[in-house]
Amino acid sequence: MRLNPGPGIAPRLIIGIGNPSRGDDAIGPLAIERLEALALPDVELLTDFQLQVEHALDLVGRREVVFIDAAASGAAPFSFEPAAPAADASATSHALSPAAVLQAFLRVTDEPLPPAFVLAVRGYEFELGAPMSAAAARNLDAALEMLVSRLTD
């Protein structure tokens, strides 16, 4: 198997993380769903329940990567920060942090690391079967407004 992607790979990758049936954890997949409707050029959209080592391979050949996830604490409505590779505690888990995925990228590929950002949208409720809270939905609106404006500038 090859590590490298085939030709025609989109320069920008946006990964939305979360479980659509766990309240505000749906922020990541819902963001992807709404971005899909916009059909933005040169952008590939990806969603998953959680990050794992193989997502490092999705980063190969990109010019920029954005991780969108719900944040159980921190700034509301969202924070948008550069992500740097780090071997944090999540490296020992079934679910990796964006920093650990970047670290895995450096370890398993010989490619230059693309600039990466984390769009952390504040969530509040994460129960199985719960709908997204109104406050989280407002936070997601604000976050997507910023992101779309950035992507289309």
Binding site: D48, T92, H94
Partner: protein, 493 residues
């Protein structure tokens, strides 16, 4: 009933150590250990601290939504829930036999999931302990450390994951949230182009899987004294087996053996599993304790998963994996191997089996067929059982005349192994912690034993900021005197 070290005679006044949550174990697990003033272990318990509400989540929905909805129960093994639900709902729509195309597409999907799950566990979650030692430097004991010293192993682990994911994408329609299996069949076949892409890599994948078995075996044999005794306990074994006793992770009948390898029951139609298996509730745990009904709770508990399956079957229907199975059985000298760390060796044999099974299915033109779904006369009840990566997974639904699920019962693999995991950590605590000053390395021994089972206590959310590992030490008065966090160290208060 209570097992040795399950409940201390006089818990008041004992020191309490809590490991919460257990690292490299999915979901919210917690281990509590009670020590007396001489640091002797008096009580050890693995707790599941999150109530999952699976049944409530499912009840009230139309049955055809269930195979998609249940994937959201677990971000680690969504395909297993997807397929177990679809199998149960086959019965609800009155289908006892799928078309060859549907059966083989589902099998392909399942073996893709087994391949990627087993690869993640061995290469990324367990290899740091196995390659560096259980009490090696904590900063090194993770996949980054493995990648630094064994880059090819780390790389193969990633690529095996990716291949398994591609198999899932091709059969389920998407990498995640797939809809491939539906009641009575599947909604898509594999195209010739998709098959050819997978075929191009499968022989390389099989080669890596053979190397992985060799590595797991070498690690076990190189330190057989430790590997044979670490957290080892004798128990019954339970799994599905296929026709003529073949290893079959997708479908079969239930077989149970006792700790000496003698058959307890065999050829049991799983649609009446409750006549053979039941569960005990304990006040200190949300997770139930299943056991074989005829043997009772004290004698009837069992282990599931790779170590049970590889020894419960009579043969593996693929050549390389069966040769490895025979070597494994020979290692046991005619008796079942009960070493907790032998789960890793057995898991790699299943990894190889999955790769070989994928190869055979890719060469079978039935997967390109167009007869995807069959229908029958609706029934009100359905049971689906599958051998998920971690062990036997049971889905049981009752559907009313409006096609709505009114009752659901799920027994997940990790629940089957509940007593087994508790036994294993009690053995480890007694052997390694008694009378010693606790260190991170010693506490990691407890985690090593739990990780061998690859439990998925799941299906927790993974929002940012929700993944710490905390180990708390309490004094005899119950005051927290120290807290270790996986990547930092802080004092209480």
């Amino acid at each position: 009933m209570s097992f040795e070290l399950e409940t201390a005679a006089n818990p008041a006044g004992l020191q309490r150590v809590v490991i919460e949550p257990v690292s490299r174990v999915e979901g919210h697990g917690k281990v509590s250990i009670l020590l007396d003033d001489d640091d002797q272990v008096k009580q050890v318990r693995l707790h599941i601290v999150e109530f999952r509400g699976f049944e409530k989540f499912i009840q009230g929905r139309p049955y055809w939504e269930i195979p998609v909805m249940v994937q959201r129960l677990c971000g680690i093994c969504p395909v297993s829930h997807h397929l177990a639900a679809a199998k149960a709902l086959d019965q609800v729509v009155g289908v006892d036999h799928l078309t060859p195309t549907a059966d083989k597409i589902r099998r392909l999907m399942h073996y893709g999931q087994i391949l990627q799950s087993h690869a993640l566990h061995f290469f990324h979650l367990s290899s740091p302990d196995l390659l560096f030692g259980f009490d090696s430097e904590v900063a090194k004991r993770n996949i980054v450390g493995v990648a630094a010293e064994f880059p090819e192993i780390a790389r193969q682990g990633v690529l095996l994951r990716r291949f398994g994911q591609e198999v899932i994408r091709v059969t389920a329609g998407k990498r995640v949230h797939g809809t491939g299996a539906i009641p009575g069949g599947v909604n898509k076949a594999v195209t010739r182009e998709e098959r050819d892409v997978l075929l191009k890599d499968i022989y390389q994948i099989i080669g890596w899987c053979r190397s992985a078995v060799a590595l797991a075996k070498r690690l076990h044999l190189a330190n057989a004294g430790l590997y044979n005794s670490f957290g080892a306990f004798r128990s019954n074994l339970l799994s599905l087996v296929g026709p003529r006793g073949a290893l079959d992770l997708y479908h079969g009948t239930l077989r149970a053996r006792d700790s000496a390898g003698e058959i307890i029951f065999d050829g049991v139609d799983y649609s009446r599993y409750w006549e053979y298996l039941t569960e005990e509730v304990k006040p200190w745990s949300y997770m139930k304790f299943p056991y074989i009904r005829e043997l009772g709770a004290e004698e009837g508990w069992y282990k599931v998963g790779p170590l049970a399956r590889v020894q419960n079957c009579d043969f593996i229907p693929t050549p390389f994996a069966d040769a490895e199975r025979r070597e494994f059985v020979d290692f046991g000298g005619g008796l079942p191997v009960h070493a907790t760390l032998a789960y890793h060796w057995a898991r790699m044999i299943e990894l190889l089996f999955s790769a070989e099974a994928i190869k055979d299915l890719l060469h079978d033109d039935d997967i390109l067929g167009d007869e995807l779904v069959v229908e029958g006369e609706h029934r009100e009840r359905g049971v689906g059982v599958i051998e998920a990566p971690r062990g036997t997974l049971i889905h049981h639904y009752r559907v009313n005349e409006d096609d709505v699920v009114v009752r659901a019962n799920l027994i997940v693999s990790t629940t089957h192994n509940n007593q087994a995991m508790n036994e294993s950590i009690r053995h480890v605590a007694k052997r390694y912690l008694n009378g010693r000053k606790l260190t991170e390395g010693l506490l990691n021994h407890i985690e090593v034993a739990i990780r061998a089972f690859d439990p998925c206590l799941s299906c927790a959310t993974h929002a940012l900021g929700r993944m710490p590992l905390r180990i708390e030490l309490f004094d005899a008065e119950g005051a927290c005197i120290d807290t270790l966090v996986k990547d930092s160290h802080e004092r209480c208060g």
